[in-house]
């Protein structure tokens, strides 16, 4: 028995460590493809999967099955689209809750202790801490990208994010609070050309249920994100339209 244990220990020591999936590269939204059943099955019971990824945008007063608290619903219905087309607002980035599903690419830079997600959309960057640290205290600063910690669950990367500053969920007046909690689960397709993810979120201050999206991206080797450098004076173009008629 003793020899067996020693042998097992030696075998463990000499065997190469199982490599974590390599997610590095340039990923652009894939407009086709069915949701991965295995990822969907791992969502918490009762989660509604909202279908506004990439191509789809909800019209006003449509929230894809999310159940809004009365106060949130009243705010959403009072929302005026023209308010977004003002100089002071047009370049405010949405939080990662909405930004993650948009038709813009991102780069993954991966090390054992830290994964960096560099998004083209509004030049945003996320740090995913893989070193086991906890989230900061609840009253720590919030940002549009939030605070993210990650871990590997087999071949899947699980990211837990808090401290996300209030912003839109569905781009039509429904806003999340700064208490929203988001969990993403990423995995590569069998051939490594697709990156698939579920993005689950809960926000009891705003929603009576929990929501999720399924998103997938296609790998495009050799490309890089462009600088976004949002120019707010774009809002003036819309305001000036028709003024001289």
């Amino acid at each position: 028995m003793r020899f067996a244990l020693i042998g097992l220990a030696l075998l463990s020591a000499s065997a190469p460590a199982l490599a974590e999936p390599d997610l590095k590269g340039f990923w652009n939204l894939a407009f086709e493809g069915e949701p991965d059943p295995a990822l969907i099955a791992k969502l918490p019971p009762g989660t509604v999967v909202i279908e506004d990824t990439g191509v789809v945008e909800f019209p006003e007063d449509e929230y894809g099955g999310l159940i809004l608290k009365p106060e949130a619903l009243a705010r959403a219905r009072a929302w005026q689209p023209a308010d977004e087309m003002k100089l002071e607002r047009v370049c405010l980035p949405p939080s990662i809750v909405y930004a993650i599903q948009g038709p813009f690419p991102f780069e993954v830079h991966q090390t054992p202790g830290l994964i960096v997600l560099k998004y083209e959309y509004f030049d945003q960057t996320r740090l995913i801490f893989m070193d086991g640290r906890p989230h900061p205290p609840a009253d720590a600063p919030h940002s549009k990208m939030g605070h993210s910690v990650g871990r590997w669950d087999g071949d899947e990367l699980v990211i837990d994010t808090t401290h996300i500053a209030a912003s839109t969920i569905t781009n039509n007046g429904l806003d999340h609070s700064d208490s929203i909690h988001m969990v993403e689960r990423y995995k590569l397709s069998a051939d490594g050309t697709r990156l698939m993810a579920t993005q689950w979120f809960e926000d009891p201050a705003v929603l009576d249920n929990t929501g999720a999206r399924f998103i997938q991206w296609a790998k495009q080797p050799g490309q890089h994100v462009f600088p976004y450098e949002c120019d707010p004076s774009f809002a003036l173009e819309y305001q000036q339209a028709g003024e001289v008629d």
């Binding site: 407009f31 990439g54 191509v55 945008e57 909800f58 019209p59 006003e60 705010r75 929302w79 689209p81 977004e84 087309m85 607002r89 047009v90 370049c91 405010l92 980035p93 949405p94 909405y98 948009g102 038709p103 813009f104 083209e120 959309y121 205290p137 609840a138 009253d139 500053a165 209030a166 912003s167 839109t168 781009n171 039509n172 007046g173 806003d175 999340h176 609070s177 700064d178 208490s179 201050a205 994100v225 462009f226 600088p227 976004y228 450098e229 949002c230 120019d231 004076s233 774009f234 173009e237 819309y238 000036q240 339209a241 028709g242 001289v244 008629d245």
Partner: protein
């Protein structure tokens, strides 16, 4: 609930949510309608979140009206062969796209074509390229 969490929740109830949404195609433009305009470019803004082509468009009576065509984000345009020199003031071009829901002379560009028939960029834009 710890004190900091209680404080955070109380603040949330008192303060309006300082949220924002990105400019939405569906909310601003009517995907069921199409409009085509031909005119002379007076300016071309090639900056994110959207480019803008301003066009002087004459009607059948010769009255000139200023139209604006909003493009996809230039980061998207660049991958489809556009540059900030793709359209210049003085160019005569035809643009088709989706009209603004509010009736303004403002459209979302699907395609721009030079007077000699050359497409601006390498391919038109569809609804799936909405940002």
């Amino acid at each position: 609930m710890n004190p900091s969490k209680a404080l955070s929740t109380a603040a949330l109830c008192l303060a309006p949510l300082a949220a924002q949404a990105h400019h939405s195609f569906t909310v601003y433009f009517d995907p069921a309608k199409e409009v085509t305009i031909t005119g002379t470019v007076t300016s071309f803004r090639f900056t994110n979140p959207h480019g803008t082509i301003v066009l002087a468009v004459a009607d059948a009576q010769g009255r000139v009206r200023e139209w604006r065509a909003e493009t996809n984000a230039p980061v998207v345009l660049q991958r489809r062969g556009w540059t900030r020199a793709s359209v210049k003031p003085g160019d005569r071009i035809t643009i088709d796209g989706w009209p603004s829901r509010d009736g303004k002379p403002y459209i979302r560009l699907r395609r721009a074509v030079h007077q000699d028939g050359r497409l601006v960029g390498t391919a038109p834009f569809g609804r799936q390229d909405q940002s």
